[in-house]
């Protein structure tokens, strides 16, 4: 073992990665969130990545019950939660075992020695104690009896049971890390005061333990290997830390306010999408109607009903739920009503890896319905731009009168990042197609010439009584029609309507290089990884590598082929087995789309990307 660094100069880095791991009941998510929020307020750019098991409280000490939270902080632009870890805080042997591989050799690990009991070592399937058998010789290990020190710190605080005492040891760890990175404790103390307002003894306990950890690190003069001091250069403004799912929910709130429509959410709980429901149910003060239905199908069905009645209707789900919603989504497309379906993708197929990330619902989103049933498909690419794409999804569905699927994923949905707050006033206008007065020869399927969007007659409007449904419609009257030519015509109209959305979305812009040797292509939640990899290559002199990252999937931006033509090679990187590459192959002839795929439930690492890209530009 390398001794802990004491009273020495740390290496100053632009960014460091810290990971907190422990049992799923150890409060690692809270610890990580506190550290990242504090750092963001200090002025660092941050990116976070929670990684937790699907079991709510897996058996204590087990390998599969390890819950982790990784935060990447920097004085530079941070676009991913980072690959390798500079500091690991392991609250038990299982956490150490499952995360050791990620720690950079020579870097620091803090462990709670009290948790390294014979029983816990057995549970973590250690044959010998790693703290004693030299297996950690390449790391700087800081051994702290955190549980005993926490108990000691809480002597004399009344009204605490044993469980509460043990559970506050995460604050000891946080206190230590605050000292090591010279962060203020104040934000966390304020948090205690707010959260436990009615329980002063809990406030006192947590504050004491936090201070104890801080003082302990101070006394030992512990310092990290690597250190970052300066705030990042970010554009001026008011910021807050936002999680992807919250940003999605807020994007819809903003769209409802801007469009003047009431927001209706019909939903059924499913990981990792449920936080959007949790967020929107809070906002009854804005008139949000959030309806938890009996199943996924009733969730979308109620939204279709609300849309028919004139609301901005959305439904939220993940892959298995999107499969269940498929038939109803086809109905929404057929009756040409506005509806946004949010699919927070997770590892599939079937139940798959519910708490892990993947991008494998793309083809389901594009084609997963009976008949010819195209819909608009968008994908958000960062936690904070979930806000923008939720807003755009609402805008497009209302203005084009056709359903939109918004794809996010577990990685950006649960990840958080600084968000420069956008006010509704600065968002683009949203016009709706509602009709209020009866004109001669009016029909429910009358279309706007430019977009082909039909009009939106809403129940309650006198003189516009009409019937819609899943059966094919006559192109003029909207009545049921089995006429063969009419069906073909309507099929083409519905497809053309989606295609014309191209006229209302921005062109794809490449980053780092406008032309050159290699174009890295990605879509959705992989943006951070791809961006940081290509950025580093450019910094290292590979200036002919560009990045084209897609947020608009159907239709694709107009200039897509033009951009592809400017590069010698194209590599499509996805967290699936090549679904976007398939889509590109269908749409663009004469290109070789090299694939780089990862299907491990984890995001891309920067290094694995750079390694692959370097092979192609050699």
């Amino acid at each position: 073992m390398i001794p802990p660094k004491i009273n020495d100069q740390p290496e100053v880095l632009e960014a460091v990665v810290i990971r907190f791991v422990g049992d799923s009941g150890d409060g690692m998510q809270l610890t990580g969130t506190q550290f990242s929020d504090t750092s963001a307020m200090f002025g660092n750019d941050i990116a976070t990545f929670p990684n937790y098991p699907s079991e709510i409280r897996a058996p204590q000490g087990s390998l599969y019950g390890v819950s982790g939270f990784q935060v990447h902080i920097g004085s530079i632009e941070i676009s991913t939660p980072g690959d390798n870890v500079d500091l690991l805080v392991a609250m038990n042997p299982a956490g150490l075992k499952t995360n050791l591989k990620a720690v950079k050799p020579g870097h620091t690990i803090i462990v709670d020695t009290d948790a390294f009991t014979k029983k816990n070592l057995e549970k973590a399937q250690y044959e010998s104690n790693p703290l004693e058998d030299n297996s950690l010789e390449n790391y700087r290990v800081i051994e702290v009896a955190m549980t005993s020190l926490t108990k000691e710190a809480l002597k004399g605080v009344n009204g605490l049971d044993n469980k509460t005492i043990t559970r506050s040891k995460n604050m000891f760890a946080l206190g230590m890390v605050y000292w090591m990175y010279d962060r203020s404790k104040q934000h966390t103390i304020d948090f205690f005061n707010k959260k436990f307002k009615s329980k002063p003894h809990i406030i006192e306990a947590n504050t004491r333990v936090l201070n104890a950890g801080h003082n302990f690190a101070n006394t030992l003069e512990l310092i990290p290997n690597s250190y970052t001091i300066s705030p990042a250069k970010m554009s001026p403004g008011t910021y807050r830390i936002i999680m992807g799912n919250t940003a999605t929910a807020w994007g819809f709130l903003a769209a409802a306010e801007k469009s003047g429509l009431e927001l209706f959410l019909g939903s059924y709980p499913i990981t990792p999408a449920t936080d959007i429901l949790h967020e929107l149910v809070k906002h009854k003060h804005f008139g949000v109607k959030a309806f938890q239905a009996e199943d996924e199908i009733a969730g979308i069905a109620s939204s279709i009903g609300a849309s028919f009645a004139g609301d901005l209707a959305i439904t939220t789900t993940s892959g298995p739920g999107l499969a269940l919603k498929g038939e109803a989504l086809g109905l929404a497309m057929m009756v040409e009503l506005p509806l946004v379906v949010v699919d927070v993708q997770r590892g599939g197929p079937s139940t798959g890896l519910p708490t892990k990330t993947e991008q494998s619902d793309l083809l389901q989103a594009l084609y997963g319905r009976n008949g010819e049933s195209p819909v608009i498909v968008l994908a958000a690419s960062t936690p904070e731009n979930c806000f923008d794409y939720a807003y755009m999804a609402a805008k497009l569905t209302i203005e084009h009168m056709t359903p939109v699927i918004l794809l996010t994923d577990g990685y950006i949905a649960n990840g958080s990042a600084p968000w420069k707050i956008k006010s509704v006033a600065e968002m683009p206008e949203i016009k709706n197609n509602k009709v209020t007065e009866v004109k001669d020869n009016w029909h429910p399927y009358d279309r706007e010439e430019a977009t082909l969007a039909r009009n939106w007659p809403v129940p309650g409007t006198e003189g516009l009584e009409h019937r819609i449904g899943g059966l094919e419609k006559d192109r003029v009257t909207g009545n049921v029609s089995y006429v063969p030519e009419n069906h073909e015509y309507m099929t083409h109209i519905r497809a053309e309507k989606i295609k014309r959305v191209q006229n209302y979305i921005p062109n794809i812009e490449t980053e780092f290089a406008e032309s050159g040797d290699l174009l890295v292509v990605g879509w959705g939640g992989t943006y951070g990884s791809l961006h940081s990899a290509v950025k580093q290559m450019n910094k290292e002199g590979n200036t002919k590598v560009g990045l084209a990252h897609f947020n608009y999937i159907n239709p694709l931006p107009k200039n897509t082929e033009e951009v592809f033509n400017k590069f010698k090679k194209i590599i499509v990187c996805e967290l699936n087995d090549g679904q976007f590459a398939k889509v590109l192959n269908i749409n663009f002839n004469g290109f070789e789309f090299i694939q780089f795929n990862k299907i491990q439930g984890l995001p891309f690492g920067k290094q694995e990307l750079i390694q692959k890209f370097n092979q192609l530009v050699k």
Partner: protein, 337 residues
């Protein structure tokens, strides 16, 4: 919640210009006409009426009504109708469904919509068969019934719709023969008046695939003896001579004859549709002789919309958030200069 119509409509105002395409002799025509007659009596504006249907013969119904309507997908009409009503509680929303649509593919939605008590009216066309797919057994087909998918006889025991509905906390349940437009019209009006989910089961003959399925109950010559038309507050008396009645014998309903064995009219049960305890209503819906028709259960309760409205008002009163900016800039924000 609904606003009253100042206009006076006739049944013609509610007929759409679409040709009605049910089989000749189908009871669905009776339901359609009864509805078109009932609507002008309800005092609702035509533009506030919405019919939502699922899939099946009866689900073509909205196309024939000159109101707002949606012919949706199999089994999901309760979900869509719930969304319509929650989005605009001012509307009079009707669900048109059949035995397969409501109790097989849509069974989950059917029980949950009843549990929630949204102010919807559901008309369940029960013909104990799948018509549109040409004659398979349904969840209300009888054991032993020979159908296209049970050539040797159906082996699956049926649901009794009323029993399922009341089990799922239906506050309003009525039943009527498909050949009885007069009472059907009245029941539709009562269903609209009722605040909460109203369910009306129509015993509907399918002339093609299950002809005569209810003839032992609904035919003119047996109707008086085989049906009891229940009315709140009135004794449970039936029969051509109005001399048969229901009494409670232990935990069972029993048919007695007034004037025989010392039975007088005073011994006959009085129908209390408003009783919250569903026990007697459950016995009535399960009764095979006589078959109970009319309003069997009509229990006032808070609707889902009322609960939501109350809660929303409370939240609004206690919140300072009026615009999204109030939320976006609240709490932990920080400045970058």
């Amino acid at each position: 919640m609904e606003t009253t119509a100042e206009k006076k409509y006739t049944f013609k105002d509610f007929a759409s210009n679409q040709e009605v395409r049910w089989c000749p002799g189908c009871d669905d025509y009776v339901v359609l006409r009864s509805m078109q007659k009932a609507l002008p009596e309800m005092g609702v504006k035509k533009e506030d009426v919405v019919f939502i249907s699922g899939i099946g013969c009866s689900s073509r119904f909205p196309y024939y009504m000159n109101t707002y309507g949606m012919h949706s997908i199999h089994g999901r009409a309760p979900g869509i109708a719930s969304g319509v009503k929650l989005a605009n509680p001012n509307l009079s929303v009707w669900v048109i469904t059949g035995d397969g649509d409501a109790m097989a593919i849509g069974g989950n939605h059917f029980i949950h919509v009843l549990r929630r008590n949204i102010d919807l009216n559901i008309i369940l066309f029960n013909n104990e068969i799948y018509g549109l797919t040409k004659g398979q057994f349904s969840p209300t087909s009888l054991v032993g019934q020979k159908t296209k998918s049970s050539p040797y006889g159906n082996t699956q025991p049926p649901f009794q719709p009323g029993e399922l509905a009341i089990g799922a906390q239906a506050r309003f349940f009525a039943r009527i023969g498909g050949n009885n437009p007069k009472d059907m019209t009245k029941l539709f009006i009562e269903a609209e008046k009722f605040k909460g989910t109203s369910l009306i089961e129509v015993l509907q003959n399918c002339v093609i695939f299950n002809d005569g399925c209810f003839k032992n109950v609904t035919d003119k010559n047996v109707k008086a003896d085989k049906q009891i038309y229940l009315e709140h507050g009135k004794p449970m008396i039936f029969g051509k001579e109005n001399n048969k009645g229901l009494i409670l014998n232990g935990l069972k309903l029993e048919v007695v004859t007034i004037g025989e064995n010392g039975v007088t009219e005073k011994d006959i049960l009085i129908h209390d549709a408003k009783e919250k305890d569903p026990t007697l209503h459950q016995m009535l819906v399960r009764l095979e002789y006589p078959v109970a028709t009319g309003i069997i259960r009509s229990v006032d309760d808070v609707t889902l919309e009322e609960r939501i409205d109350d809660l929303t008002a409370q939240v609004k009163a206690n919140s300072n958030f009026r615009k999204t900016n109030d939320l976006f800039f609240a709490g932990e924000t920080y400045e970058v200069k």
